[in-house]
């Protein structure tokens, strides 16, 4: 690569685009010409066998067919990702056009290229789509589904999903049939059932497209969860209707019994999917309870159980999407309480990664399939379909909202309705279902063309214009708020308050049942599914620990003691102060010592060993060298913990009182385990016999020797205690002076601050 200086700003970017295009240009002919090579290869070897001449030993040989399939797959994925990369380098474009549109265009280009070369472009194989490309996206959506807004709006979502989709199907199917009856259109051969089948395919809102577009517009939570929830839950309806109409179309006639069975089928499909998902979810949660010794494979359990749930329900023709969602939702709280922090991060990133790749591939393949697929264009039919889609969606949303608003506390405004209606995008699921239509239907090509047109229209027109429309209508955007402990406290507080008031009113309402469910969850379910003693931990405490952990990690990484900033508010400001402060000079000295320790430790911390099989599990390390390393770590940790305890002024999680067995210690940095089970959270006991005289004194005793939320458990040997004792006593004195009143003094001092 010749080195050259960029004379103007855009040249680097343009170079990259050129590279991408060249890559694409090279990559495709390789694939396209592969079949040609394959046949040539076999012929050649046959000839060689027959003549039996001795050839020279091939030093370098090309055997493409050996790696053909994985090579092609990898190449496609690589191309897709490079395209995605390319877009984000062009900020102007990615700001205006949603990514999904760009990817479809790329797909069109690629498909066109392949066709020009003379090869047959690959079509989005329905099996590939449903079994490989769709599950990661749905699992990602389900696992990270925001539960609170979802459950608060579940009634509305279900109404939109079920009744909305039914309305769309019948409205569109019926009107299209009426259209086909008109002689001038020339589609007399289409019967009602075929139209209804078509209606059922094209009326369902697609989760992939919705995700792709809504992700970029940051709409407020309510509208987002409504559209998104609807797109997920309408899968059951779509599956039932599709299968139903397929069957009916085969038979040709419909009886009342069939309709009744159809309704029953709907319940079976949806509830069955939910049940399958729940079973696998609980299995996954139960398995995660035992993974404390094999942390590395924890994420795999999550993925595999979910995938199994999907496949199992697809096997029974139940709703796979619902199974996947329910599995993710059910298993998440328990799994997250059991797995290590690293596994949690792994799961998050793998899910995001896979769903991102899937989404990209889906859109590209949509574009390619458009070029490839057999088309039968009929202006009237297609245009009518597109218009009817819009009209039926708008009518459906308005009508249903009118009814729903009578039951809702937070009513849906006109703006919300508009976005919900406008955000009903169709996508690849519709295409795949259309593709699955057997060739029996003489209208298959027509339907396929119409479906593709609808998809293009919704993704391009609606997808591109929704962002400016949101701005124009000044729809409420998502609130970017940091998690606040006050809010969390008061959310919990409100829950209990409202449950209580409901009790006073004698009404078994919303909160009462929620409370009952929580209690059931806590007493029975959590006991089985969460490892160790963590199941007793209330949500508020878990939230608090998480927040603390994040802040502590942030603090250590930034290498700064919070007290370095003299004017931020610290415990001193809110604690009533009645004790003499230690001299400023001494305080500065101590701070300096602690800070320098922190710098040293940070460097040492980075050079620890890392093995693929044992993530910092000291128990499993047998090597002598490891032991030595551990000893130096101990020394370091001792110093770090002194520093940490200083930080523990601000954020402290009191360690569990019971001292664990001294043998079991884990060397943990950056806290593998975000939840501290009773086993592994020791307190360091100082030999301080001062008896607790008041409740506050007791808490002081805990507070100072408390193990901070961040890392290191200190190895037991009491010998260690003596040399750091002095430092720690000093520290303790400082701590006492600056925070809580000491155990001897609080009797008098506390009274003014304790209200009667």
């Amino acid at each position: 690569m010749p080195a050259f200086s960029c004379a103007f700003p855009g040249c680097r970017r343009d170079l990259l685009v050129i590279v991408l295009v060249v890559f694409v240009g090279i990559g495709l002919p390789i694939e396209a010409s592969a079949p040609a090579y394959q046949s040539h290869g076999t012929e050649g070897s046959y000839l060689t066998n027959v003549t039996n001449t001795k050839k020279a030993f091939p030093v370098l040989a090309v055997n493409y067919k050996h790696v053909r399939q994985p090579f092609e797959i990898a190449l496609w994925i690589l191309l897709a990702l490079l395209m995605k990369l390319g877009f984000h380098l062009i900020p102007r474009l990615s700001g205006v056009v949603p990514e999904s549109c760009l990817l479809i265009v790329v797909g069109l280009l690629v498909g066109g290229l392949i066709k020009v070369i003379g090869e047959e472009p690959p079509v989005l194989d329905s099996q590939l789509f449903f079994l490989c490309l769709l599950p990661p996206i749905i699992l990602d959506a389900g696992y990270f589904l925001p539960i609170r807004p979802f459950t608060e709006n579940v009634g509305t979502i279900l109404v939109f999903a079920v009744i909305g989709t039914l309305w769309n199907t019948f409205f569109m199917g019926g009107l299209l049939y009426a259209l086909c009856q008109i002689e001038s259109v020339g589609l007399g051969g289409v019967d009602l059932l075929a139209c209804l089948l078509f209606g059922s395919i094209v009326s369902a809102v697609d989760p992939v497209a919705v995700l792709a577009v809504f992700e970029e517009i940051h709409i407020n939570e309510l509208v987002h969860i409504l559209v998104f929830g609807e797109s997920l839950l309408n899968d059951a309806v779509t599956v039932v209707l599709y299968n139903l109409f397929e069957e009916f179309a085969k038979v040709g006639t419909v009886t009342v019994l069939d309709v009744f069975l159809g309704v029953v089928c709907f319940f079976v499909v949806s509830l069955g999917g939910v049940l399958v998902g729940a079973i696998y979810g609980f299995l996954a949660a139960f398995t995660s309870r035992f993974t404390s010794h094999t942390r590395v494979i924890e994420p795999l359990f999550v993925f595999l159980y979910s995938y199994m749930a999907y496949l199992s329900s697809e096997m029974f023709h139940l709703s796979g999407i619902m199974a996947l969602i329910v599995c993710g939702v059910v298993m998440r709280p328990y799994v997250e309480a059991n797995i290590s922090h690293k596994s949690y991060t792994t799961i998050k990133y793998f899910l995001k990664m896979w769903s991102s790749v899937s989404e990209t591939l889906i859109f590209i393949f949509l574009g390619v399939s458009t070029v490839a697929g057999p088309h039968a264009w009929n202006w009237t039919f297609v245009i009518t379909t597109v218009i009817l889609c819009l009209v039926s969606r708008v009518l459906g949303v308005i009508g249903l909202t009118f009814i729903i608003n009578k039951f809702r506390i937070v009513k849906l405004t006109k703006k919300d309705q508009f976005i919900v209606a406008y955000g009903g995008l169709r996508g690849a699921i519709a295409f795949s279902l259309g593709y699955l239509l057997s060739n029996r239907h003489q209208m298959r090509n027509l339907f396929l063309t119409a479906i593709i047109t609808v998809i293009f229209f919704t993704v391009f027109v609606q997808g591109m214009t929704i962002r400016p429309l949101v701005e124009l209508l000044a729809v409420k955007k998502k609130k970017e708020s940091k998690p606040s402990i006050n809010e969390e406290i008061h959310t919990e507080f409100l829950n209990h308050l409202l449950t209580g008031v409901e009790g006073v009113c004698g009404h078994y309402g919303h909160y009462h049942w929620k409370e009952k469910l929580n209690r059931f969850n806590k007493t029975y379910v959590k006991r089985w599914l969460i490892a160790g003693e963590n199941f007793k931990e209330p949500e508020l405490i878990a939230f608090y620990r998480k927040m603390e952990l994040k802040q502590a990690i942030m603090m250590v990484e930034s290498g700064q003691l919070p007290s370095a900033l003299p004017s931020t508010i610290s415990m001193q400001n809110i604690q009533p102060r009645a004790i003499p402060r230690v001299s400023k000079k001494r305080e500065e000295e101590i701070r300096r010592i602690l800070r320098s320790n922190l710098q040293n430790n940070k460097q040492k911390m980075r050079s620890r060993s890392y093995s693929r099989h044992t993530l910092f599990d000291a128990d499993e390390e047998d090597n002598v060298s490891e032991v030595r390393l551990r000893k130096t770590k101990m020394e370091m940790e001792r110093r770090v913990s002194v520093m940490e305890r200083r930080m523990s002024h601000y954020l402290t999680v009191p360690a569990n009182r019971e001292s664990p067995r001294p043998g079991v210690r884990r060397v943990r940095f950056e806290s593998d385990n975000q939840v501290f089970s009773a086993d592994s959270v020791p307190t360091v006991h100082f030999e301080q016999p001062s008896p607790p005289s008041t409740p506050d004194a007791v808490s002081l005793e805990e507070e100072v020797p408390k193990r901070p939320s961040l890392e290191a458990d200190i190895e037991g040997p009491r010998g260690n205690a003596s040399d750091n004792h002095q430092g720690e006593l000093d520290y303790q004195r400082l701590a006492r002076c600056l925070s809580d009143p000491g155990p001897n003094k609080d009797k008098e001092e506390d009274d003014p601050f304790m209200s009667c």
């Binding site: 608003n405 606040s484 809010e487 004698g506 009404h507 007793k536 931020t568 601050f753």
Partner: protein, 218 residues
């Protein structure tokens, strides 16, 4: 109970409806419930409320009961507690849990928010001095976590401290190490809970629905 009695109560109800904003139907139901709780007497005492078994598992039981007898919630601008309450006071307290009407103006919404948050504030501010001190907040969080066992008790203090710190940081920004933050005033309270949407969340749904669903609670 003659016709005159029921006519009188009708008139009273109408009067109450105007003052508290409930509908006549809702008042009728609440009256039934009141009579059930008070065993057909004219006033309700703490014991009557304490005997509701639905409140047994509620960590906030004591505070909820106290809230009914707290004069500050009776819109009388007084402080202190009363021993018994009549039906009118019962309604006054309940009116804090009415949901917001659909079309209300911004200022009405703000007023509703203040009213509801004032109720919660009063529950925390047990000594009625207008601020929630650290001690009061600690006690509130402890009560909240009181059903959580020993872990709850120990962490409660830390959580309350962290929460207080957060309030101080948000409302006062920077403070010198010598300054002391006395406690959360009502304005601070409003500020930190501004994202909580309390006007929509703090409601008891039954007040909106048909009374046929109201069961005879214990």
């Amino acid at each position: 109970m003659g016709a005159s009695q029921s006519a009188r109560t009708e008139h009273e109800f109408q009067d109450l409806a105007d003052r508290t904003g409930f509908s006549l139907e809702q008042i009728g139901n609440l009256n039934k419930r009141f009579r059930q709780l008070s065993k057909n007497e004219q006033t309700l005492s703490r014991q009557d409320l304490a005997s509701i078994s639905a409140l047994d598992n509620n960590p906030l039981r004591a505070q909820i009961i106290n809230a009914f007898f707290d004069k500050r919630n009776l819109r009388q601008n007084e402080v202190g507690t009363v021993q018994v309450i009549g039906f009118e006071e019962f309604l006054m307290v309940m009116s804090h849990f009415r949901p917001a009407a659909m079309h209300i103006t911004e200022e009405e919404r703000e007023k509703l928010r203040r009213e509801k948050l004032r109720f919660v504030f009063n529950m925390h501010d047990t000594d009625s001095d207008g601020t929630i001190t650290l001690e009061e907040y600690r006690r509130a969080v402890e009560e909240l976590l009181s059903k959580a066992g020993t872990i709850g008790q120990e962490t409660a203090k830390a959580i309350a401290d962290a929460a207080m710190l957060e309030v101080a940081s948000t409302t006062r920004g920077k403070m010198e190490p010598d300054e002391f933050y006395e406690g959360i005033t009502f304005e601070n309270f409003l500020q930190i809970l501004k994202t909580l949407d309390i006007e929509t969340r703090m409601h008891v749904r039954f007040l909106n629905m048909d009374t046929a669903t109201m069961r005879c609670g214990k």
